[in-house]
Structures are given as structure tokens and as C-alpha cells.
């Protein structure tokens, strides 16, 4: 079976399981909703202030919420030690990684689609720059979060405190991407500067880290 077909089969299986359990989506939604509401009450910003701080708030909320989904990703494979069934099969390791990363991308995208309007309402956001650029930043930024998150979640599954280990490893390595996401989003919302540099940086980050994760994942999967 080709890598593409195996990726599709694993992705469909994960989507079916998430549809039935809603573990990841529900946890992420509640978490992100809490962040939006609490920050809104804590800062009570004006529309102008919102444009300057919203980039940071949005991406930090999505980053924290994504960690919840990322931990769930591999928890399913550890229950009943199902991962061993994959490891003894001839299926390519990269297919598993790609399926998990794409699945997480979809879950976080759903979260962003649901939380986006709430951010706009709670923070009275109006974009001065072209809004389509926000869509580009969202896609690239989300992939940056989930590709590393999926990889490092796999790396930490055999550790005792994996829920704590994941953010400890993931957040420092995500700093360049987070910086690019926040600055590009703020640039677009305020219209003060061009976000082109930050978007290019996100693109390079995505390509480099996707390649590195694909190269190393088989070793991570078969690590003892």
C-alpha cells in the first residue's frame, strides 16, 4: 500500500474516532473559549488596542489549545498498545506521521473557524490590512504548530509525564514560528507594516520542519 493510501486510511480512521469521541475538539474548544473570555474581561481593550494585542492573544490561545489535541493524538494509539500493531506491519512510518499531522491540522482549523468569530466580537476586531492575508497566515501558522506538535508528542509518548513534556519541548522550538504568526497577524490587523517577511519566514519554517520531522519520525516511532 502506498504512503498516500496509508495516510488516507489512517486519517479517515482518526477522523471517525474523533467524530465518535470528540475528545480533542471538545477539550480544545472549552480551553480556547475560556482564554477568550478571561482575557476579554481582564484587559477590556478598545478597538485600537485590540488590533495591537489580538495577534498575540489569538495565537497563544490556539497554541495552548492545540497542545490538548496533540496529546490526544497519540493517547489513542497507546490505549490497548495499538501502536505496536502499526509498528509490526510493513506500513510506512511516514504515513502515520502525515495522517496524524493532517488530522491535527483539521482539528485545530475547526477550532480556529469556530473561535475566530468570537475573537472578532469580544475584541471588536476590524482588519485594516487585506483579510485574505490572515487566511494565509492561519494556514501556515497552524501547520507550523501541528507538524512540530505531532512530532514532539510522538517523542514524548514514552515518558511518564508526557502532558507536561510536550509543552516543555514544543514551546521553545515554536518560538520563531510564533513570532512570525504574531507579527504577521498584528501587521495585517493594524496595517502598519507589510507582513510579507513574516509570511515567508513561516513558509520556510514549515518546509524545514516538515522535512526534518518526516526524516526522523521512523526513528522516533521505533525508539524503545
Amino acid at each position: 500500500m502506498s504512503t498516500l493510501a496509508m495516510t488516507r486510511a489512517t486519517l479517515m480512521k482518526d477522523l471517525r474516532m474523533e467524530w465518535r469521541s470528540k475528545d480533542a475538539i471538545n477539550s480544545m474548544l472549552f480551553f480556547a473559549l475560556l482564554v477568550v473570555v478571561i482575557f476579554s474581561f481582564a484587559f477590556n481593550p478598545s478597538a485600537e488596542e485590540s488590533r495591537h494585542i489580538a495577534g498575540g492573544l489569538i495565537w497563544v490561545a490556539f497554541l495552548f489549545a492545540a497542545v490538548v489535541a496533540l496529546n490526544q493524538t497519540w493517547a489513542r494509539e497507546l490505549r490497548n498498545q495499538v501502536l505496536d500493531a502499526y509498528r509490526v506491519s510493513p506500513a510506512p512510518a511516514n504515513a502515520l506521521f502525515l495522517a496524524k499531522a493532517i488530522g491535527n491540522f483539521l482539528f485545530v482549523s475547526v477550532l480556529e473557524a469556530l473561535m475566530g468569530p468570537l475573537f472578532i466580537v469580544f475584541y471588536n476586531l476590524r482588519s485594516v490590512g487585506p483579510p485574505w492575508q490572515l487566511a494565509v497566515v492561519t494556514v501556515l501558522g497552524t501547520w507550523a504548530l501541528v507538524v512540530n506538535g505531532t512530532f514532539f508528542a510522538a517523542l514524548s509518548i514514552r515518558t511518564r509525564n508526557r502532558e507536561i513534556m510536550l509543552p516543555l519541548i514544543l514551546f521553545p522550538i515554536s518560538i520563531p514560528a510564533l513570532l512570525a504568526m504574531v507579527d504577521s497577524t498584528t501587521s495585517i490587523l493594524t496595517g502598519d507594516a507589510s507582513p510579507d517577511f513574516w509570511i515567508k519566514m513561516l513558509l520556510v519554517y514549515d518546509v524545514v520542519f516538515t522535512a526534518v520531522c518526516l526524516l526522523l519520525f521512523e526513528s522516533v516511532l521505533n525508539a524503545e
Partner: protein, 242 residues
């Protein structure tokens, strides 16, 4: 030393050593497992049985020693021809039996529903059962796990305590299935603490202690077995393991 259906070696373990930190779970385990035979691996807890099976399955790398499975030192190359049933069921609780088997069949490049249906029927489960595996009884899970391990028609089947938490009747049924698979030419290695369940179908009992294979007890072939009917219990009583 062992009742032989074939002189071809399916699994050759040579001086296998496996360390976990400073603890050696395997301490020079060596044995030629012959093709077409059903071996029951016995031993106390901590004897190294599960570690040996996980090394043969390719889930662990031996710290020292050599291993050949179906003539290949690269387990990845023969993964298509090996089936593994772990101590845990290795199944998704959120999916039905058929959904589980469809997914795992896909890992081996099988996209034929009939294969999954046959595997479920072989272990006595209804392919139409819509219930999720999380709602299965322990016996049903073990049966489905066995179906998952053999659905790609492997030449070598590795089973780690397939009868744990299973009632006597289900265990006997599963042992009979294993006997039929052996009669079909499969090489089967079974770890169990319930040797009595396997005495009608086993070719040999392999005893492990302190990370080594210390002895084997042969079950002699009988006309009944050669005809694919398993072996009468009375005939194998003399070969019962210690």
C-alpha cells in the same frame, strides 16, 4: 529434540541478549523454531518470554545476538509474513470489529472486505456486529485480536498470552483455531500460562527461565494431527511440561 513437521527453520534465535538499563531480560536465548510447528513457550513471570516474542516481532532490538525470521535478518523485510498478537488487544475501542480489521488489513495492503469477514468468522465472531470493541467482552476482544494477527495470512504467528482472561471454552476454541493454522503450515509461537489448553495441539513446549531457553519438551506427531484433527489429550500426557 522437537517434533518436526519440517526441517526448515522459520525463526532462528542465536544467543539473544536484551538489556533494560542494567537488567538483562534475555541472557543468551537460542533456539531454532522449525517451520510448520506450534510451540508453546512456558516460564515463570519475568522469565523473558514476552521480551523474546517482542524481539522476534521486531518491536525491540536485541542488545546482542542474532535473529533470523524466515531467512532474513531484516525483520522489516518479512513484516508482511509475520503476525503478532500482544498481551494487550492492539485494537481501537472506538471502532467496531470490522472497522478495526479493515484498517489493519489496509496496513498489509489488503482492501478486500471478504478477507476481514473470513477472519472474523474464523474466530467465531459475527462480521455484522456493529458494537464497538470497547463494549466487547474480554473473550471477544481476544478472538478479534487473534483475527487481526492472522488476517493477512502470515507464515509466522506470534501470540503473547492469547488466553488471558478468557473462559475455558473460548480458550479451547482458540487453541483449536491455532491447531488448524499450524496444520495449514504456519509456524506458531504461543506464550501462555495455561499449557493444558494447548497440549492437544502443541508440537513442543519450550521452557524459559532467567532469560534463557532451558529445555524443550516434545509432543510427538500422531496420525490424528497429521490428518488435521489435532492430537488426543491422552497421547500427549507423557509430553506434558513440568
Amino acid at each position: 529434540m522437537v517434533a518436526q513437521n519440517s526441517t526448515e527453520i522459520a525463526v532462528l534465535a542465536s544467543n539473544l541478549v536484551k538489556f533494560f538499563g542494567r537488567f538483562a531480560a534475555l541472557r543468551g536465548a537460542s533456539y531454532p523454531f522449525l517451520a510448520g510447528n506450534l510451540y508453546v513457550i512456558l516460564g515463570d513471570n519475568g522469565a523473558g518470554k514476552s521480551t523474546l516474542l517482542r524481539v522476534i516481532a521486531g518491536l525491540m532490538q536485541p542488545s546482542q545476538g542474532n535473529l533470523e525470521v524466515l531467512g532474513s535478518a531484516s525483520l522489516r523485510k518479512v513484516a508482511q509474513r509475520v503476525g503478532y498478537m500482544g498481551h494487550a488487544p492492539l485494537l481501537y475501542d472506538e471502532l467496531s470489529g470490522m472497522e478495526n480489521l479493515r484498517y489493519f488489513a489496509g496496513l498489509y495492503g489488503i482492501n478486500d472486505d471478504a478477507v476481514c469477514r473470513n477472519a472474523m468468522q474464523m474466530v467465531g465472531l459475527d462480521p455484522e456486529l456493529q458494537r464497538r470493541v470497547g463494549q466487547y467482552s474480554q473473550g471477544m476482544r481476544q478472538r478479534l485480536s487473534l483475527a487481526r494477527a492472522v488476517l493477512h495470512n502470515p507464515d509466522v504467528i506470534l501470540l503473547d498470552e492469547p488466553f488471558s482472561n478468557v473462559d475455558v471454552r473460548s480458550a479451547s476454541d482458540m487453541a483449536a483455531i491455532l491447531g488448524r493454522l499450524r496444520d495449514a503450515g504456519k509456524t506458531i509461537l504461543v506464550i501462555t500460562h495455561q499449557a493444558a489448553v494447548m497440549e492437544n495441539v502443541a508440537d513442543a513446549f519450550v521452557h524459559m527461565s532467567a532469560g534463557k531457553i532451558v529445555s524443550t519438551t516434545s509432543n510427538n506427531p500422531t496420525p490424528a494431527k497429521e490428518a488435521g484433527m489435532g492430537r488426543p489429550a491422552a497421547e500427549s500426557a507423557t509430553a506434558r511440561p513440568r
